[in-house]
Subunit: 395 residues, 2 copies
């Protein structure tokens, strides 16, 4: 293990200025065989790292980003960036993922639009963006690409892995697919398979994109028109599912935006309407519509029980060797607690080392990004215990 002991009374700090790196794997002819039956290569992967790899190469934590996330977890790319990476609160010196102790890596998923090969990337065979010629990818494919990258980095053993939402699906797939390679795993606000309700919301979002005339059968990259309307609608639907009735009541209630009385016009007069439109508008500036299609399909397809246990989650979980922590949030109705409990039960049926915590929160699914204090405490303690036990063992 890394030799540095965590400084007990250090003020948690930032990882500072970081940059996204790229690495290329699956060079032809050693292309990646995808779950869909097609193959793909070369595959470029965008990633960031924080902290330093230990001499024994045994202190890596892989963070898995959610649906529309990216590899930029912590720190800033430029000193004047308004915001740090998406999980900065978790990663840095003295934080839960203590960069004085761990080597933290995050990669953008395959099919993504944040530097990793996806439908908006140039197909080297044609010199044009893949668009819909990009093969369908799955959560398993995401994980297989990450394994290739880690192998190329010379890392065969992971100290831990963590992910929320779709990130949690990748974590689960990892510990099922490569049980020997992961010592511990944190699966947060996630599920072993989407409910039909979630598949339904995903399909409506996809349909909104595909129905947008500017989508142009996915071949819009060289056009000056992009399916921003459809993508914004998909994102607005998504945002409703990320919140809870309670958090929406607290955040917006029935308050009007900049007006005291109803306008009796088809304008955006309730605060919640303005919020959703703002979220939609912001999203289309940073995200690719085709990636939205591919990533939602990858989530829809994910089914740990079917893929690893012939339909039985209990049977699938027999393979797992990692010590696991499962976290869910009371008001999360997208990936509700009963789905986490189902996974915990399956692990316990196999006498696996699993801790489960349901955190009381009104934030809905978004809680995994917002309940930072509780989540930090829980994850910090999980990692610390493991770190100490491994250190003791080593001494």
């Amino acid at each position: 293990m890394a030799d540095e002991k965590k400084a007990g009374n250090e003020t948690p700090g930032s990882v500072g200025i970081v940059s996204t790196q790229t690495i290329t794997v699956a060079h032809p002819p050693d292309v990646l065989q995808l779950e869909c039956g097609r193959s793909l290569g070369p595959i470029t992967v965008a990633y960031e790292t924080y902290g330093a790899l230990s001499a024994k190469r045994d202190n890596t934590i892989l963070i898995q980003h959610a649906w529309t996330g990216d590899a930029h977890v912590a720190g800033r790319h430029h000193p004047d960036d308004a915001k740090p990476g998406w999980w900065d609160i978790m990663v840095g010196p003295g934080k839960a993922f203590d960069t004085n102790r761990y080597y933290v890596i995050c990669m953008n998923v395959i099919g993504g639009c944040k530097g990793t090969t996806g439908p908006s990337s140039i197909n080297p065979a044609t010199g044009k963006p893949y668009g819909l010629t990009f093969p369908m990818v799955t959560i398993a494919d995401m994980v297989k690409v990450q394994k290739l990258v880690l192998e190329k980095m010379g890392i065969t053993q992971l100290f831990s892995m963590a992910g929320g939402s779709m990130g949690g699906m990748q974590v689960l797939e990892w510990i099922l697919r490569y049980p020997e390679s992961v010592r511990s795993a944190m699966i947060i606000a996630s599920t072993s398979r989407l409910s039909p309700q979630s598949i339904g919301f995903n399909e409506v979002g996809r349909h909104a994109i595909i129905s947008d005339p500017n989508w142009q059968n996915g071949d819009y990259y060289q056009s000056d028109k992009r399916p921003e309307t459809g993508l914004a609608i998909a994102r607005m639907i998504g945002h409703i599912t990320f919140l809870s009735e309670e958090s929406m009541n607290q955040k917006f209630g029935r308050r009007l935006q900049n007006q005291a009385e109803y306008s009796y016009l088809f304008t955006r007069e309730f605060e919640v309407e303005s919020y959703l439109h703002a979220q939609g508008s912001r999203f289309v500036k940073r995200f690719d519509a085709n990636t939205y299609l591919y990533i939602t399909k990858a989530m829809d397809y994910f089914n740990a029980a079917a893929d690893w246990g012939e339909g039985s989650l209990e049977k699938a979980c027999r393979r797992i060797l990692a010590k696991t922590l499962v976290v869910s949030f009371t008001s999360d109705w997208l990936f509700p607690s009963n789905q986490s409990r189902e996974l915990v039960k399956a692990l316990r049926q196999n006498n696996k080392d699993v801790s489960y915590i349901e955190i009381k929160s009104s934030y809905g699914h978004d809680a995994f990004l917002l309940e930072t204090q509780t989540l930090t405490r829980v994850m910090d303690s999980f990692l610390d215990n493991l770190y100490e036990s491994v250190m003791d063992h080593a001494e």
Copy 2:
């Protein structure tokens, strides 16, 4: 009261062949003053009646339809109609709304597209469909139109009134606006005001319609292109909110449609996807997109506490004289039970005669149309008790 006693062991029957009638009110210059400040007239109202008005004109039950409903509650328009009216199970000889005893009326709401004046109607001033020149209407306006129609029919006193979902909002508005006119009222799977979550879903649906190029600023009636894509998306979103996670698990699970394996294509492969698309396609054939816009706004605006109690539901409920029955369903997350309980609490704070029943159901919001056995029993008993007590009093 009507003299007919309910036949105890009669097999509940159908009202038979019925037809939708129209009646016109608010003829200029006596136009209707709308809540939005504009006025409208003449207003044609489509309605159906079942049973016969008693000599004392005291046996009328007004049924309020939901969101996308119409005046056709019971019976068939043609002998070969595949389906009867939308609440046929409730209305007929020997049924809960026993047509041997009661005179049952239902009217299509103003702003609707099922025979009552709405955005698709011809504006007599221009000879063209109103489209977006149609004034914004509210739940209060719906109720005021119904009052005008009943007055024209010579009915000033209602024995009872019932409605689910948006129908329940109309019932609540009725007993607040015309407390002296309604003896009893049944508010089912409804609310005194939409939550921000529901407003959010409504706005995404509206935005999908308005963003459809075929919407043409609402002026599509004389075009061969209609905003069917946008309206279908709105309906698909709606359908997810009408069901529950549990009912979707039961109804669809993660089953695939007509295939054993994933296709790894952007096709509709899960049953839930096919279901939602089918619902969307069916809906656009029977419903007007502009009406969808107007009706959802009417629901968004409805706020009994603000309109009648200066923000306090308890204060608003002081006005109510009707004996009320409030019914909610455990798995309804669109208009969840806590919203019904809020109304019940406000009524009880005023010592009003209110009964509340929460029916255990997995059907979600749709339960008000599906839990017919329980609902029939509950409503039948509510009406019967009232009928008997009124009859006793009269004897």
